[in-house]
Amino acid sequence: MSAFSAIGEGQEIDQNEYTPGLEPQATWCPGCGDFGVLKALKGASAELGLSPEEILLTTGIGCSGKLNSYFDSYGFHTIHGRSLPVARAAKLANPGLEVIAAGGDGDGYGIGGNHFMHTARENHDMTYIVFNNEIFGLTKGQTSPTSPKGHKSKTQPHGNAKEPLRPLSLSLTSGASYIARTAAVNPNQAKEIIIEAMEHDGFAHIDFLTQCPTWNKDARQYVPYIDVNESDDYDFDKTDRRSAAEMMAETEDALHEGKVLTGRFYVDENRPSYGQEKRAIGEMPEQPLAERYFDDSYEWERSADLFLDKHK
């Protein structure tokens, strides 16, 4: 019997079940794109019939990191940039958990960029949502890694001299096996993409465009948007790495020319997740490790029995 009976139940659930009683009304600024992520995440979780207690949502620090306060589940609001390493270890410790990590563009592409690259490379079975508002929201609007070139802020008063980072391309080269971009203004597409990401067996990265009306005034509301999978103007194969790479490059360029391209950019259903890879080489147990600590019949190994002979 599992010590974690919330896991894998599958149930009818209303999306309001994810609304915490204590602070039901999120305190993001009016018009903030972060509301869109919350709504889509609730919708997706309900549609998948996930119990709030089988979800572990980890976040970083930022306006985006507040997601944990407004989404009722097991939560770990970590430190700036570190939601991914916490999340992926939890998944290894108990693969039954539905693990979602989330954070801002500064959090995930800047201070936590190294973890982003490596978590993607390792293809951990989890979903990663980056609230990309092209700005540092919480700390009052400084330039972020995705701020466009020339963007003025209090810390770059003469305009950003740097080219923005290319999140989709970086994700692809790093090794993510599901890569999508959606936007807060497109709640239905966002929900569908989150559902696909959660169902995907591997690292699913969603670059989620979230407008920040408070600090990023010269940014658009990310409308109108075009779904590249549906539009006849775009023809590429999202299962082909090279084709996907071209489409991503075009999408990243287009954003700063005022054109918002969204959709699924890369999907590799064949690549084994990190957990599968580790099990295949005998470096991860078949049973969730966390269960063992609640299993009274488990015979715990002793160093004296296993390892001392070679020291005699």
């Binding site: 009683g21 207690e53 770990f76 430190i79 570190r82 992926r88 609640f294 001392l308 005699k312």
Partner: protein
């Protein structure tokens, strides 16, 4: 020179197999009934560079490296001979024979490989030999090895010659080589061993010197363990099944041992992108219900500072291992020092706190690592094991019974789903994970996936349910509760049947020596030597760095007139901690410090004690530094 012990130094090039040869030799001596202690010296590179290992063997307990050595086996440094790199290596070639030659005891024995080394390159070699009554055996080990197999086997030839000269029975070595070597190389090695042994017996009078292996016997079975082994095995026996890390000398040893052994017990090891990730992974695994650890050396531990605070604030149990090496910065990667005490105690913002143990011996490394896990999981607080390259790398004979202990996989203060059903929740169904008023400040945790246990873990100040909140009343209640754990742990440690602090010497004495961590054994040897010389002195080796054992240390200091605090760093960090914790005795505590990259030898301490505490003299050299007590 001492007749009752063999201090055998094997010296050669890094990459020449010194480590494995010396390990086998130490084990052979241990099996023959002796207590052994090894001291390693190696440069921070893979191949080339002078390296040596000293093995001290005696029928009596040995707790430290010796003072100098009485038997030298100088192998050539094969990498120093690369002609293309001549300019890089400089005079490296002769180093196995020349380095620290003055530390060879009077009447000591030298075997050197005349196939590779030319003693005439050493200044006044013959005169020094004569003056010190050294016995020199120049044997062409290289050719001997070449004739049988390969040149690298000259180590074996050297061991064979050593056995002949020191009176060690070959069967001990044979047995070990048979255990340790693959078939293919075993035969030629055994051949070489015997040839060298017989050749020395034939050609030399082996009794012209008196450096002989002592005879001993053990009451119980021994194992040859390093501090790194002990930390790794202590972790496994405490049910740790998850490690995340990033290599850094000397922490890499513990990391490697666990990476190799964890899969064998269904555990998980992860080499990750950096130390921030490593600590964060350990926290994530622990949060999800697995006993987990990480670790590093000074520089990597610095990167863990913020995750460490996250573990403290979210009350996620985790054990971190800090293997000190000489700093600041990259410092001297392969050299021991005890200079990270303050770093480990005080890093991370705010009124943060944690448990820190600094074991003094290999056996203590095992028991204190286990205790560190127990406390971390019981009290939901990070625990740190602070040790150094010296303790980590020293191979010591330890009774096998030390590790003959039952495993303890308990997750500590957690609840089952059944218990959660009766536990307090808020009106919306969130579990009150961080309750204000709980015994010892410990509020049991739930694990993600458990029904009825959901809560938010956050590094922000939070309410009992984990909701972020900054109200003064909640703030004070939560701060006080978290800080209360420290006092509960202090009381818990004091109530244990065995203290982590180690006393040595007579009950009553005029003077005290105090130290922390890995210098303990050397201090105890110094106490024995001083006692033999008629001084009234005893010692205290402290392991509990946080919470500090205020009562025990006060009592020790009260019981003597003066205390010399011995530690391997330049700024007397342990003495500083002691004064801060005790708030007095500044006028009673002086310091003997060493920070030249080499651990204390017993004579460093006896000299410091005699010239500075008993008399008002000068230290003989710059190897150690004396800092007087306040007001002196």
């Amino acid at each position: 020179m001492t007749n009752n012990e063999l201090i055998w130094r094997i010296a050669g090039g890094s990459g020449d197999g010194i480590a494995s040869t010396s390990q086998n030799f130490a084990k052979a001596l241990m099996r023959s009934g002796l207590d052994v202690f090894t001291h390693r010296h190696y440069p921070s590179r893979i191949r080339g560079g002078h390296t040596y290992t000293e093995i001290r063997a005696s029928a009596e307990p040995v707790k430290s490296r010796g003072d100098g050595y009485n038997f030298l086996l100088a192998l050539g440094d094969s990498f120093a001979r690369n002609p293309k790199e001549g300019s890089v290596y400089g005079n490296e070639e002769i180093k196995p024979l020349s380095e620290n030659l003055d530390e060879l005891h009077e009447g000591g024995v030298i075997i050197y490989d005349s196939g590779l080394l030319d003693a005439s390159e050493i200044d006044d070699f013959d005169a020094r030999v004569e003056e010190n009554n050294w016995h020199v055996y120049d044997i062409d080990l290289r050719t001997m090895a070449r004739e049988q197999g390969r040149e690298v086997m000259r180590n074996t030839a050297g061991v064979g010659a050593t056995c002949a000269l020191a009176g060690i029975e070959l069967e001990w070595i044979e047995e070990l080589m048979t255990d340790a070597m693959p078939e293919k190389i075993l035969e030629p090695n055994l051949e070489i061993l015997h040839n060298a042994y017989n050749k020395v017996l034939d050609e030399y009078d082996v009794d012209e010197h008196d450096v002989k292996v002592p005879e001993g016997s053990h009451d119980e079975e021994q194992v040859l363990l390093s501090g790194s082994d002990a930390i790794a095995y202590g972790s496994l026996d405490e049910g740790c099944r998850f490690i995340a890390g990033y290599p850094m000398t000397p922490w890499t040893e513990v990391f490697t041992i666990l990476c190799q052994n964890l899969p064998k017990v269904g555990g998980i090891s992860e080499q990750v992108e950096d130390e921030i990730a490593a600590a964060a992974l350990a926290i994530g695994a622990s949060h999800a219900g697995v006993k987990a650890m990480s670790g590093s050396s000074g520089g990597g531990f610095a990167l863990m500072s913020e995750p460490l605070g996250l573990a403290e604030m979210t009350e996620t149990p985790v054990v971190l291992i800090e293997a000190m090496r000489a700093g600041p910065c990259t410092g001297m990667p392969t050299k021991p020092e005890q200079g990270d005490l303050e770093h480990v105690l005080y890093t991370s913002q705010g009124d943060s706190h944690r448990v820190v143990f600094a074991p003094g011996t290999v056996a203590e490394a095992y028991t204190q690592t286990r205790r560190a896990f127990e406390i971390a999981y019981e009290y939901q607080i990070p625990s740190i094991i602070l040790y150094d390259q010296k303790l980590g790398g020293e191979l010591v004979s330890v009774p096998a019974s030390v590790l003959d202990e039952e495993p303890n996989p308990s997750l500590g203060s957690t609840l089952t789903e059944a218990e959660l059903a009766d536990a307090p929740h808020d009106e919306t169904g969130k579990y009150s994970r961080f309750q204000h008023d709980v015994e010892d400040g410990v509020s049991p945790r739930s694990i993600p996936g458990q029904k009825g246990g959901r809560f938010l873990a956050t590094g922000n100040e939070h309410t009992p349910e984990g909701h972020i909140e900054e109200s003064p009343a909640n703030r004070v209640a939560q701060m006080n509760r978290r800080l209360q754990k420290k006092e509960a742990i202090r009381a818990d440690l004091a109530a244990q049947s065995e203290s982590h602090q180690t006393y040595h010497g007579p009950d009553e004495a005029t003077y005290g020596l105090m130290t922390y961590g890995s210098s303990q054994g050397t201090v105890e040897e110094a106490v024995d030597m001083l006692t033999d010389e008629g001084y009234s002195v005893k010692s205290l080796g402290v392991s509990d760095m946080a919470p500090y054992p205020v009562d025990e240390v006060s009592e020790f200091i009260e019981s003597v007139d003066e205390v010399l605090v011995v530690e391997m760093n330049a700024t007397a960090q342990f003495r500083g901690l002691t004064q801060k914790e005790l708030g007095q005795y500044g006028e009673k505590l002086s310091s003997l410090l060493k920070y030249n990259g080499n651990p204390f030898e017993p004579l460093d301490i006896t000299e410091g004690f005699k010239t500075k505490i008993v008399e008002d003299g000068e230290l003989s050299g710059p190897e150690t530094k004396f800092v007087p007590a306040a007001g002196d």
